[in-house]
Amino acid sequence: MNSIPEQIVQAVGIMFLGMGLVFVFLTILILCIKLVAMKFAPLPQEKATRAAENESTQPAGVDPKIIAVITAAIHQYRAKA
């Protein structure tokens, strides 16, 4: 069996190797995640613009004719009651 100092030197070697490998492995993974994100991440602007469109189109989207019809219907209903 090796002496204790020799074993400690070996353990220190494994420490540097191990931490190095863990960092390299996870760093590569970070890069890969970023690459995938560039291609497949949901675009934040797209969502924002869609929301903006919805807000602006909805009030304007209701046809003035329909508003008139509904108002007339409400009037009729109230007159009956």
Partner: protein, 376 residues
């Protein structure tokens, strides 16, 4: 009269040895911790009961053919149980927080320093008379710092089966003690102002990203670290079942029924290793001390790395989340959240801490792979 004597000779009272009584007391202590204190009850309860069963004189549970012998032989010697648990954990894990902020992987990596520092500590302990840890033993003990039960059991079964009982008990006990061990270290290494840092909301993650992630992790493991593929492979299988959305039945089974069944037998089998002749040794004491050191160092390096990243990002990262890098999902993340709330009542760090937390699971699996590749 003869019948009575035979009955007496076969009774428990006549055959007890001191060690068995003591180990039953250890089993009872584990039951107490599980039931009264609520420490990791899912594992400590079966482990504690297994310890009692294993030390029954003439019980035959751990003799060849006995229930606990078979559970250990089939499930742990082969490494099957920890791998099935890992598949369940994969099916339970949502990587969304990590994919949204991949830099958190660095925290999961930094916290693994506890493992490798303890490797040196275990060897250095050989200077104390009575300790004789080989390099393989040291590796198996060091993995306690990964704060990941199945990984610790898997590695111990590969590198140092005779120490498995003590290592598993230490790993699960310290995971239960995360809320006590971590906060003092976290407060010591951070300033009040740092603890109050609020972090930006995470971006949304698409389903495609979540499906690609486990496949990508598996691919990288195949290329660079095949020794870690048993752990990482099962983990990724579980996660893919979850995220693909096409096999909800399998995913539900993996994260509920299967993991529960395996947990029962895993706990019993680990408990069977708590027999008097194996556990009542000086080495066990050394393992318990080294495990605590591993845990503390891992927490500290995680926090220090987060501090560095916080400085470099101009104060956008709360250094507390580094402590979650030691896996122990989700306990470590909850502890981060709690310490963060103490500094600032409106600062919820839970989601931000989940990133480094799940990164820690990957980090400790990779570290285990490195140890197997180098020492195994």
């Amino acid at each position: 009269m003869e019948g009575l004597i035979a009955f007496w000779a076969a009774s428990g009272i006549a055959n007890f040895t001191g060690g068995q009584v003591l180990m039953m007391a250890v089993g009872a202590l584990l039951l107490f911790l599980a039931i009264v204190k609520g420490f990791e009850p899912l594992l400590l309860l079966p482990i504690g009961f297994g310890a009692i069963l294993a030390n029954i004189p003439n019980g035959g549970f751990i003799d060849e053919g006995g229930l606990l012998f078979l559970a250990y032989h089939v499930g742990i010697e082969t490494g099957v149980f920890p791998l099935l648990i890992f598949m369940g954990v994969g099916a339970l894990t949502d990587f969304g927080a990590l994919i949204a902020n991949p830099k958190m992987l660095l925290l999961g990596a930094a916290a693994q320093f506890g493992i490798f520092a303890t490797l040196i500590g275990a060897i250095a302990l050989n200077w104390v008379p009575g300790f004789e840890f080989s390099m393989k033993d040291a590796g198996a003990i060091a993995i306690i710092g990964g704060a990941d039960g199945p990984t610790a059991i898997f590695l111990a079964s590969k590198l140092a089966p005779e120490l498995l009982g003590a290592i598993a008990v230490a790993a699960y006990s310290y995971m239960a003690l995360v809320p006590l061990i971590q906060p003092p270290i976290m407060r010591l290494l951070t300033t009040e102002a740092e603890r109050q840092i609020k972090m930006e909301q995470l971006r949304e993650v698409s389903k495609k990203e979540k499906i690609i992630f486990p496949l990508m992790v598996l691919g990288l493991t195949i290329l660079f670290l095949p020794a870690a593929t048993p752990l990482v492979g099962m983990f990724c299988l579980g996660n893919l079942m979850r995220e693909s959305g096409v096999v909800d039945r399998l995913s539900n089974t993996a994260q509920n029924e299967l993991i529960n069944i395996v947990t029962i037998f895993l706990g019993l089998a680990v408990g069977s290793k708590l027999s008097a002749d194996k556990f009542l040794q000086l080495e066990t004491l050394g393992i318990l001390v080294l495990g605590a050191i591993a845990f503390a160092i891992g927490t500290a390096t995680g926090v220090l790395m987060a501090k560095l990243m916080s400085k470099m990002s101009g104060g956008k990262i709360n250094p507390l989340i580094g402590a979650a890098g030691v896996s122990a999902v989700p306990m470590a993340a909850r502890v981060v959240n709690k310490v963060g709330l103490e500094a600032n009542q409106h600062n919820y760090l839970l989601m931000h801490a989940m990133g480094p937390n799940v990164a820690g699971v990957l980090g400790s699996a990779v570290a285990a792979g490195v140890l197997i590749a180098v020492l195994g």
